[in-house]
């Protein structure tokens, strides 16, 4: 018989996330991966600035919180200082793809042996729903009240497609947290991203398409549907780069 338990790498603290937000699911997938790989005692996490700034309350791991966008640099310092640690960052789209783009691209280009969990919900959540670097064309936000106008604000950044062009990364994948099937796939990708680090394979990033019913102005159910109908067509799911399997086949 299987009993549903809280992963050992997570605390019993109730999260502050809004109803219908998929951060909770993604946290759990990270916790399960860490538990199953047996690395609870040597994992160090880096929280970002954004909705998940308080992630260190929810993980039962050594953790720090980086300045906005700097998580990959902080993770680089942690990993280089103590290569035995398993170091991951957990970042949103504003943090990773806007203010922290330089840190993201260069950690990837260096092939830094860290794991990056990138939660893309196409909006700045914590500050109340502003346009993000990943907001879709036409998407209405607090700072694009008439819909994102590509003539004025350009186009969303496709992080996986961009990073996959680099020689540095070992593993780049995009998954979604909006259905049981997608959540299972997300779990596998996140586990691989951690396993790669354990095996010294280098930079691994998993982008997880996530919902923000509060700032999208939708019910939780409609928000999950919007991931399918609007986000996935723009941000196709899949593995964009995987050199980690070399020599394994």
């Amino acid at each position: 018989m299987t009993t549903f338990r809280k992963p050992q790498s997570m605390t019993a603290t109730q999260t502050h996330y809004c109803p219908g937000c998929t951060h909770g699911i993604i946290h759990r997938l990270v916790g399960e991966a860490i538990d199953e790989l047996g690395i609870v005692g040597r994992t160090v996490g880096v929280a970002p600035v954004g909705c998940s700034v308080l992630a260190y309350h929810y993980f039962n791991l050594d953790m720090t919180v980086a300045a906005h966008g700097r998580a990959p640099a902080v993770a680089t310092g942690l990993k280089r200082a103590n290569p035995d640690s398993i170091v991951f960052t957990y970042q949103g789209d504003g943090d990773l793809a806007s203010i922290g783009m330089a840190e993201t691209v260069h950690a990837a280009a260096r092939g830094e042996n860290i794991t990056v969990i990138f939660v893309n919900n196409a909006v700045y959540g914590m500050t109340g729903g502003q346009m993000a670097p990943t907001s879709l064309p036409g998407q209405t936000t607090q700072t694009s009240p008439y819909g994102r106008d590509s003539a004025l604000c350009g186009f969303p950044v496709k992080v996986c497609e961009m990073l996959a062009q680099l020689d540095g990364p070992a593993y780049i994948a995009r998954v979604a947290a909006n259905s049981p099937k997608n959540v299972f796939a997300a779990k596998k990708a996140i586990e691989r991203a951690f396993r790669n680090q354990i095996e010294g394979k280098g930079f691994s990033l998993v982008e997880v398409l996530s919902s923000c019913p509060t700032n999208w102005g939708m019910t939780p159910k409609d928000a999950l549907g919007w991931i399918d109908s609007a986000m996935i067509p723009y941000y196709p799911l899949g593995v964009y780069k995987d050199t980690s399997r070399k020599g394994m086949e």
């Binding site: 005692g41 160090v44 050594d62 919180v65 680089t76 310092g77 942690l78 200082a81 840190e103 260069h106």
Partner: protein
């Protein structure tokens, strides 16, 4: 006693970091401190350390943040424009009570300014240099030898008080060559039970953060930090007094300005003028008590600095404006000659007579 060797200031500083047990350097190239990176790029691999050229000054200081989180001695170095970029990291290091060593080999500003020596980052360094209430221990070397010894002391102080120690040098001290004795240091071995090394299943988790959403808790954090700063002020203030026993004219100068001022004081003494110098070795904490005591026999203070007048404010505060304090300065990368400073001493002596 090790045999003195001829080294550039920047290189002496870099070797001293190795001697102090630093094995983690993160930096970005900028003149006039590039020798630090170049030296450590060669040297770190020899001692099993990490040299990493970061994508930016910003990234470099956050890498230092990460390595310091892991409990390791870590450093970055830059020059004025780069330190402005690092100011974000300085604030986060302070807010998270992390030790670090940051080097500023100052060049003239503002903006890109120039690449010649300057001391115009005094306020930025001694007031913290980022948002929020915080301080750095600011050490001001005036020789190649001090580039080495103050670097070693800086690492110890940073660990001891869990804060950033900043070496505030200038382009001249960084670039010039002098004999230096690199005594093997015995770094203070301070336990870091707060470090993020993974719980190893043996302890509660550690969290390093500067985020405190409860005002009461954040106030408490600030008060505790400032109580530690008070200890630093009490114990670590350092300066050199030169010809001060009977001085009526007191020059206050640090770094390259102190080298020039020393010559000017000696020349003034030959002319029978009772001049002397207080050379702050720590700029924060500033030797305010020493200056206040000297004010009992000093008639006039001269602040000799390569800025439009930054340290002069600390001197005025120290002597509570009970004595006149005048500024002797050149800026833009120009260094005054000893004759120029001597003329300022003579003018002061005439005014006092």
């Amino acid at each position: 006693m090790t045999e003195p060797i001829l080294m550039k200031g920047n290189e002496a500083l870099a070797e001293a970091a190795i001697q102090a047990g630093c094995r983690h350097y993160f930096g970005y190239p900028i003149t006039p401190q590039t020798e630090i990176g170049a030296y450590l790029a060669k040297r770190m691999p020899e001692v099993g350390g990490v040299f990493l050229q970061a994508e930016s000054e910003v990234a470099a200081i956050h890498m230092v943040y990460g390595a310091s989180c892991a409990g390791k001695r870590a450093m970055t170095s830059s020059s004025s424009p780069g330190i402005s970029l690092k100011s974000e990291g300085l604030s986060y290091l302070a807010g998270s009570d992390l030790p670090a060593l940051v080097v500023n080999v100052q060049r003239a500003g503002p903006g890109l300014g120039g690449i010649q020596p300057s001391q115009s980052d005094y306020m930025q360094a001694t007031r913290g240099g980022g948002h929020g209430d915080f301080r750095n221990i600011v050490l001001a070397p005036a020789s190649v030898q001090e580039m080495a010894t103050l670097t070693m002391r800086g690492f110890d102080l940073a660990d001891q008080y869990r804060m950033t120690a900043m070496i505030l040098a200038d382009g001249t001290i960084g670039q010039m060559m002098e004999p230096v004795s690199l005594e093997p240091a015995t770094p203070l071995n301070i336990a870091k039970p707060w470090a993020l090394t993974g719980t190893q299943g043996k302890r509660e988790k550690n969290v390093v953060t500067s985020l405190y959403l409860s005002p009461a808790e954040l106030e408490e954090k600030n008060l505790t930090r400032f109580a530690r700063y008070a200890l630093v002020e009490q114990r670590e203030t350092d300066f050199e007094a030169f010809c001060m026993d009977d001085a009526e004219i007191c020059l206050v100068a640090y770094g390259i300005s102190a080298r020039v001022s020393r010559s000017a004081v000696s020349a003034a003494r030959e002319k029978g003028i009772r001049a002397g110098m207080i050379r702050p070795i720590t700029l924060w904490p500033f030797p305010a008590d020493a200056l206040r005591q000297e004010a009992s026999h000093v008639k006039q203070f001269l602040s000799v600095e390569l800025s439009m007048g930054q340290m002069i404010q600390d001197i005025e505060l120290a002597v509570r404006c009970t004595r006149p304090v005048s500024l002797v300065s050149r800026v833009g990368g120009v260094i005054p000659t000893p004759q120029e400073v001597l003329r300022a001493i003579e003018r002061a002596a005439e005014a006092c007579a």
